[in-house]
Symmetry: C2
Subunit: 218 residues, 2 copies
């Protein structure tokens, strides 16, 4: 039923803006391939990334209910996305309540991830924060069939990573270096290799429950 919905495919280049802040979208956007990030731009010119999407994630499902969107979405890598009109998604939720609950669930899991990010920003050290982020992304990508063998593509600039961590680029650079120095990961040319997953989860105090991967698996 979901597959029968109308959609249009579109490709974006790295860095391109997929959704502009304060717009009023009439479609929702699903990532087919590539990475995107939600970004909030503050008045002083700084930017905070509030979420990262991987293939299979909806990017702006909340706009289905919220009308005006309060953040922009940018392509972290080359992406292909599918757009489906809101009215068709709404129709699905009415005709197939269990599918509607699945969409609701997607937004709720998004919220759980956001709560974890709040904890990361507020109370985890920068090193633990990066470690946590890598653990999270690896499991999400693995669940989406886009990563295996403790290796993942994560084509993010250190400038952008700084906007995820809420740090300066210089400090971000030193944080990644520390993670490399301790032998837990390598990170080169947009590819992260987790050398010791168990130690990484321990450093990050990572508990994957919030990702609800068991519930999502099919």
């Amino acid at each position: 039923m979901l597959k029968s919905l109308p959609f249009r495919l579109r490709e974006y280049q790295r860095g391109e803006e997929i959704i502009t802040a304060h717009s009023w979208p009439q479609e929702s956007c699903l990532i087919v391939e590539g990475f995107t990030a939600r970004a909030v731009d503050l008045e002083d010119g700084t930017r905070q990334v509030t979420g990262v999407q991987v293939p299979g994630d909806f990017v702006d499902l909340d706009a289905l209910l919220l009308r005006q969107i309060d953040h922009s979405v940018v392509a972290l890598s080359a992406c292909t996305t599918g757009f489906t009109p809101h009215k068709d998604l709404i129709r699905v939720t009415e005709q197939a309540p269990h599918l509607g609950r699945m969409l609701w669930l997607a937004t709720v899991i998004d919220g759980a991830i956001q709560r974890t990010w709040i904890a990361n920003l507020g109370r985890r050290s920068p090193v633990a924060h990066v470690a946590h982020l890598v653990c999270e992304l690896y499991l999400r990508l693995e669940a989406a069939g886009c990563a295996s063998g403790h290796r993942l593509d994560f084509p993010i600039t250190q400038q952008q990573l700084a906007d995820v961590l809420g740090l300066s680029t210089v400090h971000t650079n030193r944080t990644v270096q520390e993670l490399r120095r301790t032998g837990l990961i390598t990170w080169m040319d947009g590819t992260v290799h987790i050398l010791n997953f168990h130690a990484l989860t321990r450093l990050a105090a990572f508990d994957p429950t919030y990702l609800s991967l068991a519930a999502v698996s099919r």
Copy 2:
């Protein structure tokens, strides 16, 4: 229809735990009176507050779909809450899709608030963060009919506020003092008085769009 749902009222004292982390609730909790906070406890003993609820807010609507809850909820003040079984809420979403969408909307607005909190933690200065928090809470309380005249009850300990801001208690204290010194607010005995709302929103770079208060008003 919502009012006809079965529910049980319960009161909590300040500081009491309403929902324990990693539990498996079968009911959802609505705040009737008082304030609560969602808290994530980290392994090193620190705590991060990921959200604050005011009267009219659901506290754990996400547990309706998520099963296991990943955070605890504590009473910031004396509270009275209403618990409604999940199965009754689910039934409502099936029989009255528009009400189901309203519940969905509630979780989506929650997510928008969380994104703002991520930006607050990552990129706003502590002073701007507190200012933003006060603006947000005032508008939410006003919308709930629990505040007016730029005055709001916010019975939170500076220790707890520190867990909201991701700072130490000492620094939190100095941050609040700075906000008082600049003449923007007074904050005594759990009551905040906004002396210059416009200047406060400017300091916080506060844009109320994310609260969707227009859409929620009835």
